[in-house]
Subunit: 213 residues, 2 copies
């Protein structure tokens, strides 16, 4: 039960976070291809061989950035969803947290995400993260149905979750390009679309967000 | 009114299509970076300098492929939408045409699309095509509302169209990875999601496709 390993591990974790902070900044500013390990090392105040030793190649470093930022995003969403809420309220809180995260990370996560989207092997990493998100959403839908005493085939839940995640990503893209857009307002619009559906929207129905905000 | 230019133009158009067919095949098989102009020229049965003369650099050739395939996709959708149909039927016919196109072009359009998604300058080209698609969808929603004597703010139409296009793209991705999935069934599920909304779906309502198919 020596405490020595703790002394060694703590600074490593802290330094890794510093390197990741620097890497996110440099990748966002330069793009993956133009980003240099020299600049990342300099920004982190650590020698280049140490960056390689801690986090591996530039590809591995980029993947580590994606994972950290993606995990932060998922935690931001999961942190506001209370299983006791009615389903539409969970949708509202989850979407609001997601769009707020996007609006607050236009220069970091959004840039990384867009770079990763079409480029192998990063597109594969994103696909894995999206699949996890889809699973979470499908699980929420499933619980809402079971709470109601109903069951739906797994494939229907999966497809609904893919549609919801795809629509949210598309609107996150829209939001990222519009610095003046309000994430809360976008979340309320998206709940209207997803909860009421086009049929009810076309006939003039409206879902209203709770007044507590 | 000489007919000479016609004789010259006709083979040019035909040859261009042959080159594009070869280019789509090679880009899909190899990816943009690994694809060689030699292989494209050989596949098209045309000399490499002629490919450059007709369609420009490899980047320009890739963009020409994206445009041709994307235009075919949009025409496939536009061709089945009759403005006299009720809005849910237009949604059904449009989505079915889209998912059928994706299912029939898993090796061509889908591969190009995925390659283009994250790579500059192709991501920009795709964004322009997506924006056109969003405009078309927003226009359809607008007409459906006006036919009903109602008006909705442009931004609400735009956001609904972005959500619909994003959900459809996400499900197209799902479909592209599942060779056994039925595009018509996926379209019917997507109409349920988009037309009824999660609220009605959770309470057990179902939208059924017309029996004529």
């Amino acid at each position: 039960m020596s405490t020595t390993p703790t002394f060694k591990r703590l600074p490593r974790a802290v330094r890794e976070q510093q390197m990741l902070d620097a890497a996110v900044k440099v990748f966002s500013r330069r793009g993956f291809h133009a980003a240099s390990m020299d600049e990342i090392a300099e920004d982190a105040g650590i020698s280049k061989p140490m960056v390689y030793a801690y986090l591996g190649t530039k590809e591995e470093l980029f993947v580590a950035c994606l994972h950290r930022e993606g995990t932060r995003m998922m935690e931001a969403i999961a942190g506001v969803i209370n299983p006791e809420m009615p389903a539409d309220q969970r949708l509202w809180h989850g979407l609001r947290a997601f769009f707020r995260f996007v609006a607050a990370h236009r220069d970091g996560w959004v840039v990384l995400y867009r770079q990763a989207r079409g480029e192998q092997p990063f597109a594969g990493e994103l696909a894995v993260m999206r699949a996890r998100m889809v699973e979470v959403v499908a699980g929420m839908l499933d619980r809402a149905l079971r709470a109601d005493g109903r069951e739906v085939r797994e494939i229907d839940l999966e497809i609904q979750a893919y549609a919801l995640v795809g629509a949210s990503e598309s609107l996150a893209d829209w939001l990222a390009d519009r610095p003046d857009a309000d994430p809360d307002q976008l979340a309320a619009r998206m709940v209207n679309i997803a909860w009421l559906g086009a049929g009810q929207l076309l006939s003039g129905e409206v879902w209203r967000r709770p007044t507590e905000g």
